[in-house]
Symmetry: C2
């Protein structure tokens, strides 16, 4: 597979992958290994490698919040990926549309500037993703 | 500084930072260490740590394509940053507005789908950033 071979996975076999929606909102950043990338291509569902759980992780497999792939972009150095996904699916296991729901504030804290869009207690039976 | 202490830098002291513009275009992904983050806050200019050159790197210090910071976001896990920057400044050392100028194509290659917006030969006297 020539396409995957242009991706420069790091020494741990990973590449950072940023999920953005059609409106240009950055939803989350996680990591893919070769297998996660291949599964993403094969299924059209954004799939990462969970560094904490040490296994493939198709986003939404528990919560139902699957990130359907529209396009995949590779950067100039081949060591970062952007996945454009369909809008309208909340990505954050804490109940927000985007994992980036905290903004730097010179007042001395990271300020939450978004509202929750779902109840994570209900969406995740066992644990957060 | 409580704010920086909520960032989970990895074992190499780095955190991935994604630069996006006001229109939601993802411009680039690079890494910050504590010093790069502090310099970004202090100067308002997006500053990374170059892993290859092993030193701080204020984007645009050679090319003039400085990425002026509008907002900084931290993700739910504290291990990824998004920097929103002013639109209109090309980010890629290869002459494109965004480093993500290649798109996955089932035809068997990463397809360049953007036009160059400047001549990198002229912008960089010695080397790419």
């Amino acid at each position: 597979m020539a396409l995957i071979n242009e991706i420069k996975f790091d020494s741990a076999g990973l590449v950072p992958a940023v999920a953005v929606d059609e409106k240009g909102s950055v939803l989350m950043l996680a990591y893919m290994n070769r297998e996660a990338f291949e599964k993403t291509i094969a299924t059209g569902k954004t799939t990462f490698y969970s560094r904490s759980r040490k296994k493939l992780w198709t986003k939404g497999e528990e919560s139902g919040n699957v990130l359907e792939v529209l396009d995949i972009y590779l950067d100039c150095d081949g060591d970062a990926i952007v996945v454009k996904v369909k809008s309208g699916v909340p990505a954050c296991h804490k109940g927000y549309a985007s994992c980036f729901f905290r903004k730097y504030s010179s007042g001395g804290k990271w300020k939450i500037f978004k509202e929750k869009v779902f109840d994570p207690e209900k969406a995740y039976k066992k644990r957060g993703e």
